[in-house]
Amino acid sequence: MKPQLPEIPASRTWRDIAQPVRPGAMSRGGRWRLALALTRTAAVGALLGAVGWGVWTVTSAVSSEPRAVPAAAKAVAMRPPELRTDRDGVLDAEWLGRTLALPKGVTLMELNLDRLRARLLADLQVRTATLTRQFPDRLQVKITERSPMARLRAEVGGEQRDLLVARDGAAYFGTGYDAAGLATLPWIDGVALAREGLGFRITADVEPLARLLADAQFAAPHLYREWHSVSLSRLAADRAMEVTMKSGVVVAFSAQGGYFLQLAYLDYFASRIADLPFPSPRIDLTLGRDVPIAIQPAPSVGVRLRAPQTGTALLYSVLSPSHSSLPSKREL
C-alpha cells in the first residue's frame, strides 16, 4: 500500500504552460506556416470526410431499400434489360421480360437485384444468373441454362403436364425448345418429385440415368432412337434401370457396370432376336455376360444366350453395315 504523501499541491511545471496559437503574435513566416498547416489539415479532413461519405452512401444504397439511393440516380429511365445466354441457350428477351416483370418506369437504382435473381432462378431451366447494373440505364442479365435429357409426365394442378428433366434431376416445363427435338427424348417413370421453385426436382439420384442416356446417344444412336421410356423404379433396390423400346422390348440395364458393354450386348442380341417370332421379349443385361431373355406371353419359355468369348470386337462383326457409326473397340 502506498503511503500517504503530504497534502502539498503538485508544483506547476513548464509543460503546464499553454502554447496557444495567436496569429496576431506571429511573424509573417509563422502565419504562412500556420496557413499551410491549416490547409493541410483541412485537406486531409475533407478527404477523409469524402471517403467516409462515399462509403456510407454506397453501403446505404446496397443494404437499404431503393428509395435510399440519391435522387440523381433515380432520374434516369431504364432501357429494356439485356439478356446474354450461353451457346445452347434458348431463352429469349420476351421470356426475360415476362419473368422479371419489371414495373413500368422503374430506374436502375431502384432495382433489387437479389430479388430479381431469385425470380430468374425460380425457373429451373435457368442454372445460373448474374445481374449487373450498367449505368446509367441498362440492366444486363447473364444466364446459363439446363439442357433436357428426358421427359416425364406428371399431374400438376389437376392436369397432366409434360416436364423436361435435366442431368441434375431438375424437372421444369421448358420454354423455347424445338418440339421435334423434344419428341426424341425418352420418357421417365418410376420417380418421385418434389416441388422446387416453379418446377420440381426428382428425389432419386438420376446420375446413372444421365450417364446411360449420354452413352446411348453417343455410342448407339440407332438404339437410343428406339427407346420409348426408362423406368427408375428398380434403381434404388436393384441398381437397375429398365428401358422400354418402341417395339415393346424391355431391356434392364445395370446401374453398376459400364454402359458401353451393355449397349454392345443389347446391340448384338437385338439383332439376334429380331427374327424370333415372339413379341416383346425382355432382355436382362444386369448379370454381366449371362443375358437372360424372357419371351412373352409365355413366361415359362425362355432362352439363354451367351455373349461371344472373343470380346467386344466380335460383337460388332454381326452388326449390319448401317451400324458402322458405332464406336470401335479402341473407343470403347
Binding site: P3, L5, S11, W14, I17, Q19, V21, A25, A37, T41
Partner: protein
C-alpha cells in the same frame, strides 16, 4: 535494423545571437542538417523584452536553418537561461517496505515523489527536476536501487524553477512560428552535456557557459548534475565596463574587447597603447593596453568568484577532479582558463565538442545549441515515466487541431 527518422530543431535565444539547429535523429545517431544564426534583438540577459523584435530574429534563424536543411520541422528543444532561474535542493527518505528489505519500484516512486514535493512561490514554475544518485543506507547508488537490499532509501532532487511569464515569453516566440516546444532545457545543462564526457561527469566537473548576457554553470558529481545556476552577467558586461571606463560607445568597446581584451593582466608597461581602429583617421584614438586588460580581468575575476560563491559548499576541489570546463562565446577570451584555474583551484580548459561534430559547429558559441539536441534526445529517451497530458484520445485530437 532501420529506425524512424525524426527531425528536431534546437533554438537558443541568446543575448547576442540566436542559433537554430536542425538535427535528423535516427536510432542513436544524430546528424545536423541545418543551421541558422541571427543577431539577437529584443533580448536582454536572456529574457525577451521586445516580443516582436525577438520573434523576427528567432524566426529568421529558423527559416535559415530550414532552408539549409531543406526540411520543415514541427517541434523544437528550447534553451532556457536568465537571472530569474533559481534552484533548490530537497531530499526525502523512506523505510523499505518489504520484509526482506529488498527495494521495490514502489519504494523508488514514493521516495522520488516525496523529494519533489515542495511548494513553489506563486508565479514560479518548475523547469527541471534533476535527480541526484539514490542512497541506500548511506551507500551512493549511481543507477537504479531496485532489487538492492537495504533499510533506508534516500534521494534528493535539485529543482530548477523560473518565472512562468518569462518562460511563457520564450515559448510564445517559438509558437509564433507555429512550432511546438517539445523540451525546455537549461542552457547550462545543454552546454555542459556537450563539452564534458561521461567520465568527467562521473569524476566531478564544473561546466561554465559564459555567454553575452548570462553565465550559466552546472556542477556534475557522480555522473549527474548536482547544482546549476545562472548569473545575469556575461560578455556584454565586459563591453559595458570598457565603454564606461574608457568613455567609448558600445560598438567601439566591443571592438576593443574582441581585439585586445584579456582575462589576465599581462601588460606591465602602462604606456603601451593600442589604437581603436588602427586607421589613424580622424576620430581614431589610443588607449592603454593595461587599462583594457585590467577592466576585463576585474570583471572576469568577479564573475568567476560569484560563481564559486553561489556553488558554496557544493564545490570543492576534491570532488571536482575533472576540473573546470569553459564554453560560450566569451570563453574565447584569452587567459580565461588561467583565471578559472586560480579561482577554483582546479585545472581548467576550454570545452571541446566531441570529435564527430563538424568543423563549422565547433565554435564554443554553438555548444549550447548542439547540446540542446543531444541532451533533449537523451532526456526524452531516458524519461522513465513520460509525463501524461490531461485527457485521452479526444484531447489529443483536439490538440492536433488547435496546434495546427
Amino acid at each position: 535494423m532501420s529506425y524512424k527518422t525524426t527531425l528536431i530543431g534546437a533554438v537558443e535565444i541568446g543575448t547576442s545571437k540566436i542559433t537554430a539547429l536542425i538535427g535528423e535523429h535516427a536510432g542513436r545517431e544524430l546528424a545536423i542538417i541545418g543551421r541558422g544564426e541571427c543577431r539577437s534583438r529584443g533580448v536582454i540577459k536572456g529574457a525577451v523584452v521586445d516580443f516582436k523584435a525577438a520573434s523576427e530574429a528567432t524566426h529568421a534563424a529558423l527559416e535559415q536553418a530550414e532552408r539549409e536543411a531543406g526540411e520543415k520541422i514541427d517541434v523544437v528543444f528550447l534553451a532556457q537561461t536568465g537571472g530569474h532561474l533559481e534552484g533548490f535542493y530537497n531530499e526525502a527518505a523512506v523505510t523499505v517496505k518489504a520484509a526482506d528489505n529488498m527495494i521495490e519500484p514502489g519504494d523508488v516512486r514514493t521516495v522520488s515523489d516525496l523529494a519533489k514535493l515542495r511548494d513553489l512561490p506563486f508565479g514560479r514554475t518548475v523547469v527541471h527536476n534533476i535527480r541526484r544518485p539514490f542512497r541506500v543506507d548511506g551507500r551512493v547508488i549511481p543507477g537504479s536501487p531496485v532489487n538492492l537490499v537495504g533499510q533506508r532509501l534516500e534521494v534528493g532532487y535539485w529543482t530548477v524553477h523560473g518565472q512562468e511569464q518569462r518562460l511563457a515569453d520564450n515559448m510564445n516566440v517559438i509558437r509564433g512560428f507555429n512550432l511546438e516546444v517539445r523540451e525546455l532545457v537549461l542552457s547550462s545543462l545543454a552546454a555542459g552535456h556537450m563539452v564534458t564526457t561521461a567520465e568527467d561527469r562521473q569524476h566531478g566537473v564544473l561546466a561554465i557557459d559564459i555567454g553575452a548576457g548570462t553565465t550559466d554553470f552546472a556542477l556534475y558529481r557522480h555522473g549527474c548534475a548536482h547544482t546549476t545556476g545562472v548569473l545575469p552577467v556575461g560578455g556584454s558586461h565586459l563591453t559595458n565596463d570598457l565603454s564606461i571606463g574608457l568613455r567609448l560607445t558600445e560598438p567601439q568597446a566591443e571592438k576593443l574587447k574582441l581585439r585586445y581584451g584579456r582575462a589576465t593582466v599581462q601588460t606591465k608597461d602602462k604606456t603601451q597603447k593600442v589604437w581603436l581602429d588602427g586607421t589613424f583617421a580622424i576620430g581614431d584614438r589610443q588607449f592603454s593596453q593595461q587599462a583594457i586588460e585590467q577592466i576585463v580581468s576585474a570583471r572576469i575575476w568577479e564573475t568567476l568568484e560569484v560563481v564559486r560563491q553561489k556553488l558554496g559548499a557544493a564545490f570543492s576541489p576534491e570532488t571536482c577532479a575533472a576540473g573546470v570546463v569553459l564554453t560560450g562565446g566569451t570563453a574565447k577570451l584569452p587567459g580565461l582558463t588561467e583565471v578559472a584555474a586560480q579561482v577554483f583551484g582546479v585545472p581548467a580548459h576550454l570545452g571541446e565538442p566531441p570529435v564527430h561534430v563538424a568543423e563549422n559547429l565547433r565554435d564554443p558559441g554553438c555548444s549550447t545549441a548542439l547540446g540542446l539536441l543531444y541532451y533533449g534526445i537523451t532526456a526524452q529517451a531516458d524519461r522513465a515515466f513520460p509525463t501524461r497530458r490531461d485527457g485521452g484520445f479526444l484531447s489529443g485530437l483536439k490538440r492536433l487541431f488547435t496546434h495546427a
